[in-house]
Every structure is written in structure tokens, then in C-alpha cells.
Symmetry: C2
Subunit: 412 residues, 2 copies
């Protein structure tokens, strides 16, 4: 008998009919003899409806009250799912985050979970009940309602699985699992049976949208195995787990890409100590996340510095950098929002040499110019012109033989 | 400086535009220098929408989960109202019932309030905040969410006013106050400036729909003055307060009616001890409320017994009584769903004689046959055929000179 935490997202619970389907799915898990805790999101569209009402009232709604508002979405779902389970003859009980003391910090709309009181849930499970918990929400130590940010239900599910020491956390989604790359770009993309937490983190943060980054960090920290699988089929999906020997045998696990960045270069800035601080201080103060940073070798006391920011922050970042550039005596500032980052990911890189040069070779053969390069122990990321994104992904997917079958070159 | 609790119902908060209006209303009270606590219902239509979803999933939804579901309605309103108050530059904070520990028993969907933790609210008020509390909901001692039943927001408001020792509880509604009778029946019905709790209780339970009965009981018990007033005007409404000398000077305060009852007579039942128990036991077990009961003088060891039940329970009650009648050896059972109860109400009756006979006289002059009579210290109720309801109300209203002006008889 296992303890299974199941998480169903907004699309899976998007109507009363779909909620009944989820209930049947939950019951089939329970009937295998397992203890089941279910974490659900708001019905799809519901959160947007609530946000729209807030927008009709105020341009920038109070953050505390915004969380009070949107957390009703998940409360509706837990009640409806518990009603469905009861109606199907199951003993079930729903809990809001406050009721099972999912305690977070007080950072409204992006709160972080600090602790969960597992006692109540364990008691219900031991009495044979299915426990339904609202995802996405929490309460701070003073009892104020908080939310974890978009995709936060994944984090709720993993945190609950960790607190309960569950055997597995099933994340139900609209895809069959985690793929070697985006199947819409690369038709022979292959579903992975297993992937290491660190690989998943790179896949997630680099643009694969299956799991929320923070939930994977949580799973890694508490060693919770995640099973990413489809709501619409019974197939086994992808297990996201701790790294093991067998994973190291494969050099590359997947190819990720991110079209949502822009590149800024500050040209011929005097290479004196403290430049970086003067340049990135104001950007950080404006809450803009800088991703890659590259600094060229200094020539006659001057250097070029290039970095990437989210595309949505490009204009704001440009004006901050132009101002800093003047103060620092730079020659100029250049920006390009039409770039993409394409990355090769694999924990096996630690023991396999030559991955980066294979990437450069492959791009060179296709005439794809590399604008920036950044590497870590388990990834190689290249910034290229956006127009090359799909080509670059397919070339790398092929180079590292990730596909499950040969695809003729003409289909590219 | 006063402490004012204001309650706004579903119609008053039925859209984001209306919520903004309520916010302005709240602020104008605050700007008089008063401390303000606001209790709100779900936006009109919202609760029905939630109930409909539950109905799509189960015919008789789990009571516990039903409460989890419908209590989201009020949570949406408190958040939106607090957002509006913030946007208008006020310091405001919203609380669900759980957050201010509105503790109830565990009778889902008709829970009774046991206690409220006023400390948190007092602290916010002392720091200059407007406090917005969700009506209708509570939580039992184990933290399970409960609701108080339809109209429960009135009770929430009065209970909060009692706990805070507020100076007044303003109940905002879509009428100008409590009238001597239904203005849609009697065009010279007059708005009352004041009415005693006991009178209001009779008015409420006898069919005037302004205030929920339980909220008035609560107000009476804790001596909370209620001000029933209009959301749509600045006029003074009706104060519902403790009885005083001046009220006793007036014999009759108002005329109420109730078309929602039906009459059942059990004919020539042997008049032996225990009949009533055998007759009303099964009715009570079926959760049917019996209102008036009249037993005729016994003749040759037999008696007739007549009573009223809610019209919705008429059929069920008839079949129970027919069964009991057979067992008791009664001659037969007769039922009539086409009746109304018309009542004259006033605490002044305690010191004014002859009210009942004035009622009988007035009915007799108009040829209205009285089917049943029931009296208490402060009311005289008569059951008449439904078709006479409006006529009976107008006749009594006129007899006791309750109108604010003469109305020519032809307009009846």
C-alpha cells in the first residue's frame, strides 16, 4: 500500500463533467489499495474571471485582498471534487490551505511554503478518507491568506507529498510526460521514462512548460519522486527523480529553448572595478531578472558586456542601461529582442566530454551563428537569432540521437 | 465617535460597480469619525450559480462540502470591497469567518453562532482600518466551514455588533425600512421610525421579509439596536430596539400576513390523553414545523383538531395525518392549502384591551370569515381564505389608523 499525492490542474477540472472524471480517476487509485491525497487548481478560466473583476475595481488591487479573492477559485474545486467523491460512495474531505496549515511567508501572490501540518491529513487517511486539498494557496503566520503564484499548485502538491512522506507525487497534465524536446517543433521527440531533478530544473527554467520550477526544487530538496502523466490516458509518464548511475550513461537528455529573452550589449565601457555593480544594481532594483552575462576580454582598458533579460522587460532595461552607460562613459548600448536561447541538457555531461564542441559543429554545419554561449555542469546554452530557433532545436535533437525514430530530413 | 456595523446584502453588492458604491457609502460613515465594520453577502446570483454546479455533480451534495462551496461567494465580496476601499485611499482589511473565529455549532447550512473573537477586529479599528467581514459563514470548533442558512448575513452582522459592543447595526436593504404593512398591498403603508424587537420578530416570522428572524432574536438577546435602511438613499430608516414606554402608547404597530401556510383538520378524533403526541410526533419527525394548533371543546368524548403547516409540506403532512387518523380512529381528515394568516402586532396590546374584538368587528363588516384564531400577548392572528388576504390587511390597517394619510375607499 502506497501513499499517493495526485495533482490535477485547471484544465483537468475545467467543468463539472471533468471534475466527475477526476473523481473516477482518484477512486481507481484508491481502489488499488493506496491512500490518496488530491491537490487541485481552480477550474480553468475561473482565476482569470476573478482577476478581471478586481481589475474592474482597481488598477493595482491590494495584494493581500487579491490573494483573498483568487484563492476562492481552488476552494470551489475542492468542494465540487469532494461532492463528486461522496456521490460516488467514497468517504472524502476537503481542506483549504488554512485548514491544513500550509504556512507560507507573507509575500502575497508569490508566497513560499514554510511548513505543513500533516497530522490532520494522516488521521483522515488512516480512517479511510480521500483527502482533497486546495492547491496554489497558503496562509502566513498571522492567518492572512496567501497564494504561491501561477503554477503554484504543483508546488503545493510536492510540498504536501514531502510533508506526508508520500511514495510518489503524480502531476496530471495535458501531455504524456516530459519529452526530449518540444514535440510541436520536432516530430520525433521522445517521451522520457526518467529524468533527474537537475535536468528537469534546466528543462523547466529554460522554457519547457510541464512543471513549475519551484515544485521541482522542492521535490529535489525533499527527494519526492514526481510522476508527470496525462489526465486523459492511463499510460505511464515520466518519473522525475534523484540522479542515479544509469542516468549518467546518457550524455544528453533533452533540448530546451526559450524565445522569451532579449539581449543587451554595452559597448566599450571602461574596465574598472565596480562596473558590474553600477550596471546591474539599477536593473536588479527594477526587479528585472538578468539571465546570461558575458564579458569580453579587456582591450586597452575597455570591455564589452552582453546580457539577457526577459523580453517583457527589454524596453525598461534598455533605458536603465543607456543611463548607466552614459554615467560609466561607455561608447554605446545595443539591444536585440529577436533572439532565442537553445540549450542541451544532461547530467551525463559531467562524465562525457565534447558536448559543447558537438553543439558548435552542428550549428556551424547549418550556418547558425552563435551570439552568446553559457555553460554549466549539466547544460550548454547558446543564444541564436530567433529565426533559427526551430532549426537549431531539431539539429541538436538529431545530433544527440534523442529521437525515437529516424525522421527524413525533408520533413524539417 | 461611534462603532457602527454595516451590513450590505447580495443586491447591494451585485456588481463591481455596486461594490464601488458600497465602498463610498462605507467611507462616508468612516468620515463622520466613526469606526466601521462592514458585513457583506455574496454578490446576487453568485450563490445560486455555485449551488447549480453542485447540483450538476450530485443530487444531494455532502452538507459539509456544500458549505465549503457556497462560502466562497462571500469571500469574493469581502476581497472586492476591500480592494475598492484601498483604491479609494482607505486602510481596510477583509476577514473570512474563520479568520475572526466566528465559531458555530456543526449544523451545516443552518449553523448557529456560538462565539466571535472580537480582539482582532478591535485592534484593526484602533489602528484606523475599516474591517470587512464575510457574512453567512462560520467555522465549527474543529475548523470545518459552516454556513448560517439563507439570510444568515443579517445574523452575522448582529452577532458581530454584539461581540464588538457596537453602538448600532445598520442593515442596508432595498426598502426604506420596516413598514406598518406591505406597501405593495396597502398604498398608505407608513414607514415606522421605531419598532420593538418582539414586534419585529412577529413581523419577520409572520411574513414580512425585511430581516431574518434569527438576527432579531440575537439583537434582542444582546440588546443591539438595528437600523434597517435603504442602500439607495440617505434617509433614516427604522430602528429596531428594546421596548420602551412610548411604544406602549400605540396599541398596534403593524399588520403582517403569510400566504405560505396550509390548514389540516382531523375530524372527530377520540379525546383521550396522548392524542396530540401520536398526531404531532410523526410530523415533527418529518421535520415539518407546525404553527397554529387549535382544539375544539370535546363533545361526547370526541374532538376536532386543526393546525397549520408550511404550504410546501402540505402533501407530506396530509399523508402522515391520514395515517395517524386511521390509527386513532378519527372520522376523517380535511385539508385546505388556500389559506392565509393575517396578524395584528403591537407591544401596546399588553396595556390596550379590545384589540381582538376590533379585529373581529372589522372582518365581520367586510364579510371575511375567520377560520382560525390565535393570540399572544402582542399579536392577534387570524386564518382566512387566501382570496381575502389583501382585503383583510387593508381593513385592519385602516381600522387601527396605521396609514400616513387617508386613502379613498375606492382605491381598494
Amino acid at each position: 500500500m502506497a501513499l499517493v499525492v495526485q495533482k490535477f490542474g485547471g484544465t483537468s477540472v475545467g467543468s463539472t463533467e471533468k471534475i466527475k472524471n477526476v473523481a473516477r480517476r482518484v477512486i481507481s487509485e484508491k481502489e488499488k489499495g493506496n491512500d490518496v491525497v488530491v491537490v487541485v487548481s481552480a477550474m480553468s478560466g475561473e482565476t482569470n474571471k476573478l482577476v478581471a473583476m478586481a481589475g474592474e475595481i482597481a488598477e493595482s488591487p491590494s495584494e493581500r485582498e487579491y490573494d483573498v479573492l483568487v484563492s476562492t477559485g481552488e476552494q470551489v474545486t475542492i468542494a465540487l471534487l469532494a461532492i463528486a467523491l461522496h456521490d460516488m460512495g467514497q468517504s472524502a474531505v476537503s481542506y483549504t490551505a488554512s485548514q491544513v496549515k500550509i504556512t507560507t511567508d507573507s509575500a502575497h501572490s508569490k508566497a513560499r511554503i514554510k511548513s505543513i501540518d500533516s497530522e490532520k491529513i494522516h488521521k483522515d487517511l488512516s480512517e479511510g478518507r480521500i483527502v482533497v486539498v486546495a492547491g496554489f494557496q497558503g496562509a502566513d503566520e498571522d492567518g492572512n491568506l496567501t497564494t504561491l503564484g501561477r503554477g503554484g499548485s504543483d508546488t503545493s502538491a510536492v510540498a504536501i507529498a514531502a510533508a506526508l512522506k508520500a511514495d510518489v507525487c503524480d502531476i496530471y497534465t495535458d501531455v504524456e510526460g516530459v519529452y526530449t524536446t518540444d514535440p510541436t517543433i520536432c516530430e520525433n521527440a521522445r517521451k522520457l521514462d526518467r529524468i533527474a531533478y537537475d535536468e528537469m530544473l534546466e528543462m523547466a527554467s529554460l522554457g519547457a512548460k510541464v512543471l513549475q520550477t519551484r515544485s521541482v526544487e522542492f521535490a529535489k530538496k525533499y527527494n519526492v519522486p514526481i510522476h508527470v502523466r496525462s489526465t486523459f490516458s492511463e499510460n505511464t509518464g515520466t518519473m522525475v527523480t534523484r540522479e542515479d548511475k544509469s542516468m549518467e550513461e546518457v550524455a544528453v537528455s533533452g533540448i530546451a529553448y526559450n524565445k522569451d529573452e532579449a539581449k543587451i550589449t554595452i559597448i566599450r565601457v571602461p574596465d574598472t572595478p565596480g562596473i558590474a555593480a553600477k550596471l546591474f544594481g539599477p536593473i536588479s532594483d527594477a526587479n528585472i531578472n538578468v539571465d546570461m552575462i558575458i564579458q569580453n576580454v579587456s582591450e586597452d582598458g575597455h570591455t564589452d558586456m552582453t546580457f539577457t533579460v526577459p523580453k517583457g522587460d527589454f524596453k525598461k532595461a534598455m533605458s536603465l542601461v543607456e543611463k548607466a552607460g552614459e554615467e560609466l562613459g561607455a561608447k554605446g548600448v545595443a539591444g536585440d529582442p529577436n533572439i532565442s536561447k537553445v540549450s542541451v541538457i544532461g547530467v551525463g555531461m559531467r562524465s562525457h566530454a565534447g558536448i559543447a564542441s558537438s553543439v558548435f559543429d552542428a550549428f556551424s554545419k547549418e550556418g547558425i551563428n552563435i551570439l552568446m554561449i553559457s555553460t554549466s555542469e549539466i547544460k550548454v546554452s547558446c543564444v541564436v537569432k530567433s529565426k533559427y530557433t526551430e532549426l537549431a532545436v531539431r539539429v541538436l535533437h538529431d545530433t544527440f540521437k534523442l529521437g525515437d525514430r529516424e525522421v527524413k530530413e525533408e520533413t524539417w
